[in-house]
Symmetry: C2
Subunit: 155 residues, 2 copies
């Protein structure tokens, strides 16, 4: 499967938890308690999100984190980019020149970029507000099945 970092999943959990709270700043510890995630991990996520401008941080005694923008002004692509780094499906375009072997076959590189753009556009179309919305009616997922109906929604 296309592995999306687990930290990115946690990031969405933390950010939705912030939405559901009051407007005040949230400390890393309080968010860890509310989400059930380990505190150091939450702290790491918040730092990454703040570095990319998705969070506004306030240091000092009564400090904490706040969302930098409204939930519908933050999309999934931005969150992924903050945690996992730039969205690129392959590492074909890297510093290592010898990895590609025969160069005559490598013009496909530009075409992977086409795929990257398509995926990026899809991810930009989903906002944090969409993710925070409580589970919506979905005919594919009759919510009574915590077992593993996962294979159904695969390609």
């Amino acid at each position: 499967m296309i592995r999306l970092s687990k930290l990115t999943d946690y990031a969405v959990v933390v950010m939705t938890a912030m939405i559901q709270g009051d407007g005040g700043p949230h400390t890393a510890i309080s968010l860890a308690e509310r989400t059930g995630l380990p505190a150091p991990t939450v702290s790491k996520i918040l730092k990454l999100l703040a570095r990319d401008g998705l969070m506004a941080s306030h240091r000092g005694a009564t400090g904490g984190y706040r969302l930098a923008r409204a939930p519908d002004a933050i999309n999934v692509a931005q969150i992924i980019a903050a945690i996992d780094g730039p969205i690129a499906l392959t590492d074909c375009v890297e510093g290592a020149p010898g990895a590609c072997g025969v160069e005559s076959l490598c013009p496909r590189r530009g075409n992977w970029d086409r795929v990257n753009r398509a995926v990026r556009g899809a991810l930009e179309g989903v906002s944090l507000a969409d993710m925070a919305r409580p589970s919506f009616p979905d005919p594919l997922l009759p919510k009574a099945a915590p077992a593993l109906p996962a294979t159904a929604d695969a390609i």
Copy 2:
């Protein structure tokens, strides 16, 4: 970054190499020579592709592999599914129930599926024929830069 398996990249290389050859069947060894990839790896990829019906294999003395369908009838999503397994960004929906911790925050599960569908649709829109097309004019990639302009095309 969103890690797409390196084997999937190789799969596209191998399949484009098959397109550029004549119509006859290709052996795993001949494809390995033409692509510069290690032979056992090519064999592994071909087996995976054949298992999902993307390749037609012919055993015996003069056997080999052929594309099961026309290049424009095969899309990237199918290749990824054959190599990396079903396309699912997160493993939130798994057999392990304890992993999620607080259940009250987990309704976002259905929303990840929305993201999955968006990505899947994007990948289905790119065919193998698109990938095999020799590098097309792309303003973002002024083909004279094998160094590492990779960060430019990131999100």
